[in-house]
């Protein structure tokens, strides 16, 4: 059992809004094993971000259970078990790139020498060595997002939660970052949960694809990818890749994602 990182059983979440209750998640059952790369894909309102936020203890489920590393999300958060990458890089403009990566390390009480060493290491990991002293506005959007990934990696959490981290970037930059992210995942053997809108991105990155459908947000299909772990960008033109992508699209259609 120690190999199971996320286990959700019959999990539901209802938001109380001014227009009455909105069911964001319904009957979610999901198991994620250590070292997996799981993508959550679905149209807006399918609850994929909400589920990520439940894992991160930013939202509380209304019913059902969820365990992260065998404990509640709150305990997992307090033991700093995960790094969270938001849609926007969210770097502090008054801190340098190095200063931004140091921020969680300062909060968690790492020593000065260890902070310096870790900042250097994660900057190498995301190919941003030499940018430590630059301010965020001096970097491109893609580089800022890489810095924010470095920040989430700096404190060695086993789990990386990523909420559409490349959603605001253009396709060329996105391809490049996807490739880098896979290399990084191979190097660090972390468990990654990745929310996305893009079918190719989900298929290219994941070992497991969770297809979700809206109103209420539920899981339409879970696909274990047959693709090999070593994936050059060209793999997107192979029949295996297209077959998985087709199945994802079928899953999305079955969820009546685009009904009128």
């Amino acid at each position: 059992m120690p190999d199971i990182v996320v286990k959700a059983d019959n999990l539901s979440l209802t938001f109380q809004t001014n227009d009455g209750p909105v069911q964001a998640l319904a009957d979610i059952d999901l198991t994620v094993e250590k070292g997996e790369f799981v993508s959550f894909i679905g149209p807006s309102g399918c609850g994929k971000t909400t589920f990520l936020r439940v894992m991160a203890d930013l939202e509380k489920p209304t019913s059902g259970t969820i365990c992260i590393n065998g404990v509640t999300p709150e305990e997992a958060r307090k033991s700093r078990a995960y790094g969270y990458v938001f849609q926007a890089a969210g770097l502090y403009p008054w801190r340098t790139i190095g200063g931004n990566i140091r921020l969680p390390l300062e909060i968690m009480g790492y020593s000065r020498t260890e902070r310096a060493e870790r900042v250097k290491r994660v900057l190498d990991l995301v190919d941003l060595s030499g940018f430590e002293k630059k301010f965020p506005w001096q970097l491109s959007g893609g580089m800022q997002q890489r810095a924010s990934i470095a920040r989430a990696l700096a404190f060695d959490a086993d789990i990386l939660l990523m909420d559409e981290p490349f959603g605001a970037l253009d396709e060329i930059v996105r391809d490049h970052l996807n490739e880098q992210l896979l290399k990084l995942w191979a190097k660090t053997s972390k468990t990654i949960a990745f929310v996305t809108h893009s079918i190719p991105e989900a298929v290219y990155l994941s070992t497991k694809i969770v297809v979700m459908s809206p109103r209420p947000g539920r899981i339409a299909d879970i696909i274990d990818s047959p693709l090999p772990p070593d994936r050059p960008l060209d793999i997107r033109d192979t029949p295996e890749f297209l077959e998985v992508a087709h199945r994802v699209r079928e899953g999305l259609r079955a969820g009546h994602a685009y009904e009128d």
Partner: protein, 295 residues
Amino acid sequence: MNRKHSRVLPVLTVVLAIFVLWYAGAVALNAKWAEDKATRANITLSFPQLVADTWSQDKPKLPTPHQVAREIWKTTGAMALRGRTFSKRSLIFHSWITLSTTVLGFVMGAGLGILLAVGIVHSRAMDMSVMPWIIASQTVPILAIAPMVVVVLNAVGISGLLPKAVISMYLSFFPIVVGMVKGLRSPDRMQLDQMRTWYASKSQTFWKLRLPGSMPYLFTSLKIAMAAALVGAIVAELPINQNGGLGARMLVGSYYGQTIQIWSALITAAVLAAVLVGFIGFVQGATLKRMGMAQ
């Protein structure tokens, strides 16, 4: 070079326009007195004579810029040259008194304002209960409150600089509270969520996110507060005028119809305000540049 030019020219144009209006206004307002004098002496004034008279009266309704400038020089530089910089008649002496009240009141107001803002941002109860009082405090006319503050503080044995500084503080804390509440609340939901994912404490969130995020707001409100503190100091010098200060100088001037004296105190106060606000602007530029936030 070009940018500097484009800034200087509009400023000079406005200054020139003010001078033209000022001199014209002096002619219009002081003409009656000049004409009355001429009638009594049984002479008729030509227009150039009339203008010359309106620009050189002893107690004009509106003194001209050169009269005010001469008076300011007489009570500052000229006295300093004779080694009487801090004589009771010197504007440097009076400015110093107003300046010390302003700075003390400003520092107290900034401190109080920041403390209140921190309380309001962190405590919902304080947000609900204190904020309305803070707003109400500013609707009370300061002129009515100033003598009462002086009397009350005198009754408990506090006199001198402090009562005036309290009045100055009363005006200057308000813009700081408003600006800092907005500034401390400027971090968005995502930034606060992010702090939560790192399991940051409230104080860490404050020192590392809220406070640095509020800096641009802080400096803007410090500038307004500084100007308000100066107004407060001048108002406070009206009931406590035996101690001197630019406000006392204006009041005494108005007792004796010394319009030139009033105007020179007024202009000095304006210069003082410009210097103080300019100083904060300088600190702001330096700080934000160090923080990498300069525009």
